[in-house]
Structure formats: C-alpha cells, structure tokens
Symmetry: C3
Amino acid sequence: MNSFNDLTDFSNDEIDNLIDLANQLEKNPSPNVLKGKVLSLLFLSPSLRTLASFQAGMSRLGGGSFVISPDMSIHGLETRHGIVMDGSAAEHIKEAVPVIASYGDAVGIRAFAERENIDDDLEDIKFKNLSSLVDKPLINMESAIQHPCQNLADWKTMDNLEIPKNGGKFVLSWAYHPNALPLAVPASTLIMAAKRGMDVTVLRPDGFALPKSILEKATNEATKSGGSVLESDNRKVAMEGADVIYAKSWSSTLHYGDQIKDKLLREKFIDWCIDEEWFNTAKKQCKFMHCLPVRRGVVVSDGILDGPRSIVIEEARNRMYAQMAILYKMMKG
Amino acid sequence: MNSFNDLTDFSNDEIDNLIDLANQLEKNPSPNVLKGKVLSLLFLSPSLRTLASFQAGMSRLGGGSFVISPDMSIHGLETRHGIVMDGSAAEHIKEAVPVIASYGDAVGIRAFAERENIDDDLEDIKFKNLSSLVDKPLINMESAIQHPCQNLADWKTMDNLEIPKNGGKFVLSWAYHPNALPLAVPASTLIMAAKRGMDVTVLRPDGFALPKSILEKATNEATKSGGSVLESDNRKVAMEGADVIYAKSWSSTLHYGDQIKDKLLREKFIDWCIDEEWFNTAKKQCKFMHCLPVRRGVVVSDGILDGPRSIVIEEARNRMYAQMAILYKMMKG
Amino acid sequence: MNSFNDLTDFSNDEIDNLIDLANQLEKNPSPNVLKGKVLSLLFLSPSLRTLASFQAGMSRLGGGSFVISPDMSIHGLETRHGIVMDGSAAEHIKEAVPVIASYGDAVGIRAFAERENIDDDLEDIKFKNLSSLVDKPLINMESAIQHPCQNLADWKTMDNLEIPKNGGKFVLSWAYHPNALPLAVPASTLIMAAKRGMDVTVLRPDGFALPKSILEKATNEATKSGGSVLESDNRKVAMEGADVIYAKSWSSTLHYGDQIKDKLLREKFIDWCIDEEWFNTAKKQCKFMHCLPVRRGVVVSDGILDGPRSIVIEEARNRMYAQMAILYKMMKG
C-alpha cells in the first residue's frame, strides 16, 4: 500500500481485509513486525488522538516515530510558492516535507482546510501540494476533505458491534457548535457509510447542505454497495429506524470562509444539541457516534455521552488498530 | 500491580521487593521485557524529570510511550462537570482521558493541586476524578498530595547509600521560595520517611505547619515501622544528629490559595536558605536531598548543591529505575 | 567514541571509517544494535532536522530517545552561575543537564551562540559549560561555532556523489539573509572542506570576512590534507572551476551582536542571492549545498533549489545516517 488517502481508493473487499488485519493485531501482539521501521509524523494542524494513536500503534508493532509540528520550537513554515521569503517563515515546505519524509519508511501528514476557497478545499489542493513532495508511502491524517483513518476506525467499530451494512440506517447529523468547522469529517463519513452499503440520511438545517460533489460521490458509492443517500431537515423522519446517529458540526457552504455570516446563520440552530428525545423514532439500541473532540452540552447532551448509546471511546480506540493495519500494509517486508 | 498512587498502599516488604527489582534493572539491561507495550503519559502540569525518566525507562525495557500535554497543539481540556462547553475548551477530560488510556497498557497522569480548597487537595479530589476515568494500571506522576514515584526513588537512594532505616534521622525542612508551592512533595516525603522507620523531624517556621491529617498519617506509619514524627521551628535542635535534610518549600496552610497573604507571611523567612551552617549539629556525613527543580541561592546555597552532601542528582537518576520497577510490575506478562 | 564535537578531533581515516559505517547502516537495517539504549536530547535552540533525524536514527537502531526543550512545559532554565534564583527560572542547568544525561547512554545538546561576545562564541564557552556537566558520551548538535553532525553528513554527501577530495573546488559563499546569523555552520563547514583536502574559497562581501582564528584553523587543516584556503569578494573568480557552492549567511564580525549595525551593513548586499548566473564560471555539474532551513528568493533562487544542482535534501537525509554511525560508535557493546 503506497497511499491511504481516500476510502474510495479501495474496494469493499480490500477494506474488509484491512479490518480483519486490524482485528487480528488487536488480539495478537505483534511487536516484531515493524522492528527498526520509522513513521514520520507531520502535524500542520492540532491533534490529540491521531498523534497518540499513531505513536502507540508504531510502538506496538516494534517500530518508532517522531513528530514535527509548528507549535514546536521550529521556525515558521512557508507554504506559498514563488515567494521571496524575507518575512518570519525561515523554511519552505518544499524543503521541510521531503526532509521529514526522508527519515521515515512512511509519512503521515495532517493539514486542515484553509477555508478560503471551497473549490480548493473540495479538491484538497493544499494536501495534494504537500503529498506531491513525498516519495514514501503516505497517510492522510486529516486534510480539507478527507479523514480516512477515522473512516476506517468507524467502519471497524460498526463491524465489531454488528451494526448492519445493507439495511442498516446511518444518520449523519449536523449539530450546533460555536465555530464554523471543516467539512473533512462529515464529507468523508457520509461517503464511508454509503460505501459500507448503509441507508444514509444527512440531517441538517436549512443552509447546511453538504456540497453537491460530496453528495454525488456518496450516492455513487451507495449505488455500487446497495446503500442509499437522502437529505432531510426533519429529525423525526430522519431518525426513523436509525441504527446509528453520527453527529458532527460543519460550516455552511453558503458562507464558506465567512465566519461572521456563518455565525449569524448557525446561531438560529443552537437547539441542534442531540439528546435522548432525538432517539424517539430510532431503533431501540441506536448508537451515538462522534469523531471527537466533542463539546458537551453543545453538540450532544451529557446523558447521551455518558449513557449506553455512546460508542465514541470505542471509535477512538479503534483508530489505533485501524492505523496499525495501514502501517503494517505499508511497511511490512 | 494495578495502581501506584500512594506508598502506604504497599507493605514495607513490597516496597523492598520493588527496590530490589529497581536495583536489578539498573544493573542488568532488560530490553525485551516490555516489547510492544505502550505507556500513555498525560501531563496536565509541567515536567522535566518525570517525562524524561518515564520515556527513557520504557525504552530501556523495550516498550514505547507517548506524551499528551496541554502545551501541545491540542484544544483546551475542560475539567468541570455538567458544563455547557461553549467556551474555548473543545474537549472534556471525560473523553480525553479514556481515549488516551485506551492506547496504552498503563497510564501515567500528572495533575498538580488546584490550590483553591485545601480539603479537596488533601482528599486528592482532582486526581481521583481523573483516575476514575482510567480502566488501565495507573501511575500517579504527582497529584495535589502524592508524588509516589519520587518517594520510591528517594527510598531507593537512601537504601543505596546505606542511610539507616530504624535509628536514621530524617529532617524534612521548609525553605524559602518566592512562590507558594503545593503540598504533594512535603506531605508524601514525610510519610515515606516515617514509613521507612526513620525518626523524622519537620522543621518549619511558624505558620507553615503541615496539615494535621498528614502529620497523623505519618505518625501512624511511624508507629508501625518503629519510627517517630516530631515538629520543630528550631534549626539546631531539629538538625541534631541528622542523617539527612530533605528541603522543600510549601505554602502556608493558614492562607491556602491566597497568594498575597501567603507571600506576606513567607517573606519573613527569606533566610530559610539551607547552607553549611545548618549542618553544625548534624551527623558529619549528613546528606542534602531535594526532589528538584531547586532554586539556587534561595532554597539552598550553591556550596551545598555543588558539595559532597548533595545527592539530588542521584535521587533524580533513581526516578528512572524506581519507575522501571513499577512499569515492569504493571505490564510484564 | 566519547565525544563528537569537532571534526578535527578525528583523523581523516577515522572519518572515512565513520562514513563507511554510515553507508553500511544506510544499506542494511540494523534494528537490534542499540536495543534498550537511550539517547537524551536537550534542545536549548530550535530544531527540525536534528530532532527528527536523531529520533529516527535511534529507532532504526532499535533504541529510544526523549526530547527536552524549553518550549515544552518546563520551568525556565537558568544558565548564569552564582546567581540568586528568585526570578522566573525555576531550575539551573547545573541540575537539569546532569539529570537529563543520567537517563541516557549518550546525550545530544544543541545550544546556539549567545552572540554577545565573539571571543566567548569562538571559544564555544556556553557549550563547554554545558558539556562539563555531562559524564556520558556527548554529541554536539550545534553550538556557537560547531555543527559536526552537519559537517559529517556533508562530507558523506560529497563522497556519495564522487565530488573529488584533493583537486575538488569548494566555494563557501555568504548570502543575504534578513537576520544576522551565527557562525557555526560557515566556520565548521569551511574547516570540514579544508580537512577533506579540497581547494576552498570563502566568497563574501566586504565586512563579512570570517574570524581569523577560523581561517587559520582551516588553513592548518588544508596544509595537512593537501587542500587550500582562499578568500575572495569576486564571484566570477571565486566560482571558477567550482565543484560545489555551499551557501550560508552569517553575521558580520565587525559588528558582532549589534543587530542594527549589522543590518545596515548587510542591506547593501541584498543581491547576494545565488542563482544560475553565479555558475557561469563553475564546472558544468557544479552542485549547490545548504544546511537548511533556507530562505527561497533570498539566499538562493527557486530555480537552483528546484533544479538538478541542488543536493540539499540529500544532505539532510545523510544527517540521519551520519548520526547513526556516531550513535553506533558511542553506544554499541
């Protein structure tokens, strides 16, 4: 495996194999598999789970890792091309990224959306620019529009809990949040659930529809897998018979990059905080999913997070095992 | 071993066994013992020795570790319960701690005292709240009232130097410091020395008596071990025949959490800076101990730190071996 | 090997042996060689390549490492001697350095020039003070006047590309930079190239001559190795027949430590940005070297960095292998 960037680059059989491997590595310690191997980790955006789970995963497989992030004592990194670097940035990514890559057997990069131009973000221009500088196996640790490690972990989590593929109902719900958040998780999660063969409803208020290209990509995946994709702004209808509600806030694509207009719009939907009432029309055992970090009392109630519906810790825990499978495929032998 | 939180949870025989193991690991490299095992390290308070010695110790045993601390590029962590998280903190410890724990085979947590309410700190409420979120073997890396890794290292240091248990005299001395410092080290060190069977004198100026419950716990340990616990504000008397003086500044319990009143009180004792004169009535070879970091010329003179009495580097070095014994007991097999 | 501080501490045969070992470790994974060994890394100055390459190198040899730097959540470190520590610094290097050293089998320290007194910096007083506190094998990770790991990597890079030793022409060129930079890289690189037996020309504008003691040391090395050392302020003459141009900005020794006067002087030479025209009189295949980080469009043109002349990524990559050879020699067996 030379790249782990987009779940749709893999067939469902390939994903099943990856998850089988992840389950196997979860059960059987394999501390010699990546002996002497190194994972380079470049975080251009903040991280807790991703950093911890990649470092822990490499250790469990017998390898090592190192972390570079701009909050460390390094000089600022310039990303613009053709610029005269007479400002504060002392190093260009055109040097920093190949150098960091040269020390590893594989590379993980995290770079959130710039959120200036929606087309650039939907095309993942920034991440593609970074990727083009790497000549090693590369893992997307979350970019403007992808979060494939989260997607694989979520797939595994649902498999482990025997949440059905075909026939299973997956509600991806917008939730309130004080800030305008990126599209990476909702977009890639929607596509993951559709690809898994589930009947997916995107539940969101007016003004928060996901971009058309994302919905089309998801529908395309659903067609191949026997799933479906719908949109709704009606909680009761959307949640009817749901196996899973996956909560995530995201910014309005109507005012992309405009914090003020986005805020004015989102403030109307401060009641989109998921609590037990939302589950009235869902399946009895309907689960609550979230990629974390999550704001309690804002995105979801304490009751849901602390109750039996929540599988958010399990999702986070599966990040490590899903990633160990990827690392194994990339660096073994 | 499922918890290393308080030295008094262990019998003196168990502590002797731990120190035997630490001495053994110091002499014989054991780089396969924790192969593929992971230690999760969560620092909610600053660290140098603790971070370095735990990471080095895990490497020496063949395992790995990762560090999460709020000074890294993560979003702020909320610790209050039942709160609506619409401020700057993006993640609650109720998610962060279980997630971090889920990546390790054991977990270390550091969380200093809040220093708002002395009863909460004496009960170690904050650390207990954090501990309750961990379902793995847990190491206290310093809390409001405990610093058991330091205590075990200090015990080992005295053993290695053949400083007597029964009959040995241990002076725990307050020292001047510009800031009001927590009680964790003085409280847990006092109890350690008493439990080791030593005759302990707490030397401190008026207004800086340690809390009654701590003195009672220490006296109780002394009764069991054949030691004793006294208080004094007289240097000559306290130091008479001493084998060890252990210096540490701490805040006044009279003005707990009140920086201004505490400062007014402590400024009177700026001469409590330990120098050679303090040793006039002590045993000739009386040693100087401190947990570090220590302020030169404030807590203790350069002469003492740079002279033969000081064993502070040895104490710090023994942190690693003491902790390796704990890690071994928690994760081996 | 107990110290890696100055390339001139080693004979050319010893350096050849180190590079042979580095080449060998590059080809053959050796993940058991430093099993259970620990490298302590203390960064008192910023780093990207050095931190990453040392951590990766230790992992590749089966060992571990830890990093301490003041940008982490530790208390400030005091470096002055005999001072009363009643300010913000809570720990003195006289404790911090021996403690950090005590956890490792070898120690790396980075501490850039203070740039207050040129004689102190030429004598490497600050680094010597730090070194004197370490009783383990010690690696200079860049000090006021040395950068031996970079020097060894550069030597290896030229060897691998078959750039001639005797008879090879090496131009060390000053370049413009908005800030007054330290002398460590130009000084130690000049001496490295002279020691390698090359004909070295230091190309720099008026006012930017390197210190006399450095030129003398280089000339001395050249005499022994069959090389030569010249100075020039004429690009065409200097570059005539060059095999390599090694660019680096450095401060004027006329106004050492005086940022304002230095700036006034350097602003006259803003056109010292290396581009293709500089190579007119050089050998056709003349290479461009730089230790990185490098400012594009300021020190060197995009065209050179992105073209076939540049071997800067190769230099950075060789840092890891050169350092692995040092670590092997220091800690093996």
